[in-house]
Amino acid sequence: MSLITAEKISKEFTRKGKSKKRFEVLKETSFEINKGTVTEIIGRSGGGKSTFVSILSGLLQPDTGKVYYEGKDLYELSDDERSKLRNKKFGIIPQDHMVFKNLSVIENLLLVKEMYGTEDKEEENERLAEELLNKVGLKDYASYKAGELSGGELRRLAIARALINDPEVIFADEPSGDLDEENTKNVLSIFRELTEQGKAVILVTHDREAIQYADYIYRMDLGNLKEEKL
């Protein structure tokens, strides 16, 4: 069953150089994400993969077309509604290390959990956060300042954070970029496990290993999205 549907979406950017040339990052594309599947997006650098994921996750409005989540037009929703949906239903693992480096590891997770008013369930939230940290191999790091973590540890923190609200869709933009083989396997198996619970995973990756976990593979090239045979 389709969880996210993109209809004829496209996006242009203006390069801020002297020439101010407009270029199409995403040519008119339709796309579907189904429950219980891992969808992988591969393609060369600068091809528009991250832009595509931004549009699907409600962070970047497309120039044309529509994105539906469970039948709701994402960009027709108010900012409040769309943001809350992103918090509750989407788990986003950004390409850069986007965590609060001045907060502790666990605070980074709780922040997301408490955003829409569950501060009163403090103990429960903490237990959940610790469980997730355990899952990504950051068991003993809960009270560390996030700024003290290594690249791979930050990545795993971002993964745990994306899962804290038990989302329906996980958007992972090159999550294995700075992970070793063991951690990559672990993360991929977590994703697999989630699909077994009926969640959907969108995975942008260059990783050969990941191919084995994919239900669908798409290649993004110069704004064109093409499905690849498995």
Partner: protein
Amino acid sequence: MRFRFNLALKNIKARAGRSSLLIIICAILAASVFGGSVFIRSIQNGLHSYEKRLGADIIVIPEEVKEEGSFDGILLQGIPDTFYMDRSVLEKVKETEGVEIASYQFFLASANAGCCDSPVQIIGFDPETDFSIQPWIREAYEGEITDGDLIVGSNIVIPPNRQLRFYNVTLNVAAKLEKTGTGLDNAVFGNIETIKSLIRSADSLGFEDFKDVDPDSVISAVMVRNEKGYDVYKTAGNINIPIEGVNAVTSQKMIYGIAQGLKNVSGIIGIITGLVWVLSIIILIALFSLIAGERVRELAILRITGASKKIITGALLWEAFLIALIGSVSGIAAISIVYFPFADTIKRSLELPVLQPGAGFMILTGFITIILSIIICGVTWSLCVLRIAARDTGLLSKEGV
């Protein structure tokens, strides 16, 4: 709501260095406004009470009291002094055109009174004709002021037995006057009979102080109330020209000097405060802009994890509010700790009457200062940071938004 507040608090704590810097600048802003306002108000109050306590339109003093010098000393700074002129001046002044009432005063400067650390000014007045001191005394004391009674200025310490000794004469303290911020706070007042008894006693004890002073034939000053509708400067001239050896000064002229001083001091404080403000606001804007760079990243994280623009704006405003609040409250506290203990020293060095405003004024000024800081901080903050909160293109594809 609670999340926004908590997020703001977390942000302040997580960036302790950055936050303290902002808090310090807000504190400086608040301290300059609060300190400046209270100080200017103190001088205004002082001037006002000085004007009120002078109580006469014209004051006639011996000519050798050059340009009100020591008279100013008595009135403004409470430096005890004495000067005398012939008693006949009083009668002459009374008969002068434009004079409605004239009453004399008699000044004694005592040595250590056994009551105070410093010598005090003793001022004798004539209860029959006095119009400048008694109305003031009436505010503090309703009863009769009889021979041997003293009314003391607010700086005089009253012993438990309510008696003060001067030259071995024991006098009753009938009342203490309200603070005026002028030299009169260091003076004691009594009727002329009381003064005479002091002089007699001083002479018999062998003090040289008043050897040549005969209270029956000399006086120190004549206080004049001007006839309504008669030009006060003309009256002063009417006194100055025919009567030898005296100087009639209008109270307007005396106050003018102080008002001028007040104007200068207020002007300087105004300029300093203005400079502090311009500088602080420039620093604040510069800092906020610097912070905005870091902020872009923080805001991107919040957006990605599902914070709405409302939540982000709310948290940012809370942060500005908390910084301004903490900053201005500590600024006011700091300036109070620095200023109030030194208020007396400042007062002396300025040679202006300084009367601290009441608690009501302080609280109101403090309150306004805090509000002002919050507005300034909020506006500059909004200019620098909130506009970023409104943008969010390509959060995932570009780190810098």
